[in-house]
């Protein structure tokens, strides 16, 4: 459960985030949709405590990143924009490293990795060094290491970026599985189809502000459009930077 109220963040003269508020409930997938540069990544970085907001409030399961950064990090699973893996280590070692950083016991890490290998279908490459992995394989490892400690809240920055059709389908299935288990999921994307296919709640972000917020039906109704895509374009005011 995430509650964001009137978030602001500037870099020099550029107002990257200029008054964003939204809520993400448990058992729901919340999509942050917007063109590149709209402020999605900055918003997520403030959520996962790497950037301090200039003003505004964030509550994740009642915790504030300002005061409880470490506690929040324990409850968060994050697949950030940077998916860098350690190429001189195997996929398993990459995931294990994050488990150890979370202070998990060796035995728990082992069982958990076995589960993730199963769900994410990683058996073929789990013992291989990540040098030369395909995008799909890299994203799977990045997700597995983010999920190693069974976080309640999951943040994903453009998770399907660079994935082929098969990998995207597998990813969507996985995210829907998380939802079914009652996790709160927030993902950012500039791909309209992705929100349409996945999200219960859509937050449209444009130029650092929330342009519209609601379920798919609510957005259709508010815009008076026939299709969700038309509704997005109308609500943002331009289709530049969005992908169908």
């Amino acid at each position: 459960m995430i509650k964001v109220t009137d978030l602001h963040k500037s870099f020099g003269d550029i107002k990257a985030v200029n008054g964003i508020s939204f809520e993400a409930k448990d058992g729901e997938i919340t999509g942050l949709l917007g063109p590149n540069g709209a402020g999605k990544t900055t918003t997520l970085r403030m959520l996962y405590t790497l950037l301090p907001p200039d003003s505004g409030e964030i509550k994740i399961d009642g915790l504030d990143p300002k005061n409880d950064a470490i506690a929040i990090k324990r409850t968060l699973g994050v697949v950030p924009d940077g998916r860098g893996l350690y190429t001189r280590m195997t996929a398993r070692e990459n995931i294990r490293y994050f488990g150890e950083l979370h202070g998990m016991a060796r035995k728990d890490i082992r069982t958990r990795i076995d589960e993730l290998v199963e769900t994410l279908d990683m058996a073929d490459f789990i013992e291989r060094r990540t040098e030369g992995f395909s995008q799909g394989q890299r994203v799977k490892v990045a997700i597995a290491r983010a999920m190693i400690h069974k976080p309640q809240t999951v943040l994903m920055d453009e998770p399907s970026n660079g994935l082929d059709v098969m990998s995207t389908r597998a990813l969507r299935k996985y995210i829907l599985g998380l939802k079914a288990h009652g996790h709160s999921i927030v993902l950012s994307t500039h791909i309209m189809q992705e929100v349409a296919a996945l999200c219960d709640r859509i937050v449209i972000i444009s130029s650092g502000k929330v342009a519209a917020d609601g379920t798919a039906e609510e957005l259709l109704e508010r815009s008076g459009c026939e299709s969700l895509e038309d509704a997005f374009v109308q609500l943002i005011g331009s289709e530049e930077g969005l992908l169908a």
Binding site: L50, V78, D81, G84, F98, L101, A146
Partner: protein, 392 residues
């Protein structure tokens, strides 16, 4: 502290698999420097010897003014070349290292018992000419002394009267202490090794991690940033120390092969000496790791970090070079100056002198203190969001 341990273990494991890290830290320093220096000494020694033993070819102008001197030179193995037209030109063109000119008034002065002039022509800026020039001068002076003694004897005077003083050298150096003459460069090499051993690791674990975009995911883990930083710095320190230890072992193996010329030198580094040196130099590894990590943290990429490192490597060289060019007596206050104190102490340890324990303490603590300050600054940089996102 578990986070620190985890980061440290992972970095060590990962870097042991990195050929570049192994090459830079564990191979380059330990292998290259000892072999380079001993090789260089061999080369210098043999070149010197060759010049000393080579037949000396000497162009002489005005040989007919001093036939008996010429005979003396020839008896001592000098090949006297026929009179050149322009000896200065021959020396300038490096056809010969040295030439002499016997001036026309030589014969006249000689007969009258006045000093008879001979010019020795050489170019002092050509180092390779020094040995032949010295040989020529020694021969000429030797001849002069011989004739001088004969002249005194002919006049019924004991030649000893002309040498009122007899000098005797009493040398208190020991084979061990003379060793410093040959290995004055050792502190210098070790100082550089501490830095080269740390460089790759410092860059790879910070700027490299940023460049590969794995820093952001790493920092999302519930571990205080300073622990992540400290883990990385510890890895860098350990690699630098390993580099130093291997270099010392390698010197121990190679030094006995070094040519020591006429001096008897004891070049064996005993186990105790090695451990003492390692103790003195270890804080430098920590200092280097902290300094390099701090600098590399500012860089966005490995390449950018590399461009800073060229300058940093000058830091350990400066005190060593000052010390080599201008050897000074070790004094207490110097022990508070990092890098300089290590130079002094290692010199004393090699000469097998007893060093006050307080000196060890001062050198180690002053170096550690500065290393710690740098480490704290580095850690605080890791707390700034700028560090992570300067790449974006």
């Amino acid at each position: 502290m578990n986070g620190l341990k985890t980061v440290f273990k992972k970095e060590v494991r990962e870097n042991l698999r990195d050929r570049r890290a192994l090459f830079n830290s564990l191979l380059l320093g330990p292998l290259l420097f000892p072999v380079l220096f001993v090789g260089l000494m061999w080369f210098l020694e043999s070149a010197e010897q060759e010049r000393a033993e080579k037949t000396l070819e000497l162009p002489v102008v005005g040989a007919h003014f001093a036939p008996s001197l010429i005979r003396f030179l020839e008896q001592h193995g000098v090949v006297v070349l026929p009179e050149p037209e322009n000896p200065e030109e021959m020396v300038s063109n490096q056809e010969v290292p040295v030439a002499i000119r016997i001036l026309p008034e030589f014969a006249e002065n000689w007969r009258q018992g006045k000093p008879a002039p001979i010019e020795v022509i050489s170019d002092i800026s050509r180092q390779e000419a020094n040995v032949p020039k010295r040989r020529v001068k020694l021969l000429l002076l030797g001849y002069g002394q011989q004739i001088g003694s004969l002249r005194l004897q002919l006049r019924g005077v004991a030649p000893q009267l002309a040498s009122p003083i007899m000098l005797r050298d009493i040398d208190l150096s020991t084979p061990k202490s003379r060793a410093i003459l040959a290995i004055i460069f050792l502190p210098y090499v070790l100082m550089i090794t501490a830095f080269t051993g740390a460089t790759h690791l410092a860059m790879d674990t910070t700027a490299g991690e940023k460049e590969r975009k794995s820093l952001e995911p790493l920092l999302i883990n519930p571990v205080p940033r300073w622990q992540i930083m400290a883990g990385k710095m510890m890895t860098t320190t350990v690699f630098a120390m390993a580099s130093l230890a291997l270099t010392l072992v390698s010197f121990r193996l190679v030094l006995p092969l070094m040519p020591v010329g006429a001096f008897g030198m004891d070049l064996t580094l005993g186990l105790q000496t090695l451990l003492k040196i390692l103790l003195v130099i270890s804080p430098v590894a920590i200092l280097a790791a902290a300094l390099l990590t701090l600098l590399a943290s500012f860089a966005k990429s490995y390449r950018e970090a590399q461009s800073y490192m060229g300058l940093v490597i000058l830091i350990p060289m400066i005190p060593s070079l000052i010390f080599m060019a201008n050897p000074v007596k070790a004094e207490s206050w110097m022990m508070n100056v990092p890098l300089f104190s290590q130079n002094m102490l290692i010199g004393e340890i090699i000469r097998d002198q007893s060093v006050p324990l307080a000196w060890y303490a001062m050198s180690i603590s002053s170096t550690l203190a500065i290393g710690l300050v740098l480490a704290v600054i580095a850690a605080s940089i890791y707390n700034s969001p700028k560090l992570i996102f300067s790449s974006g």
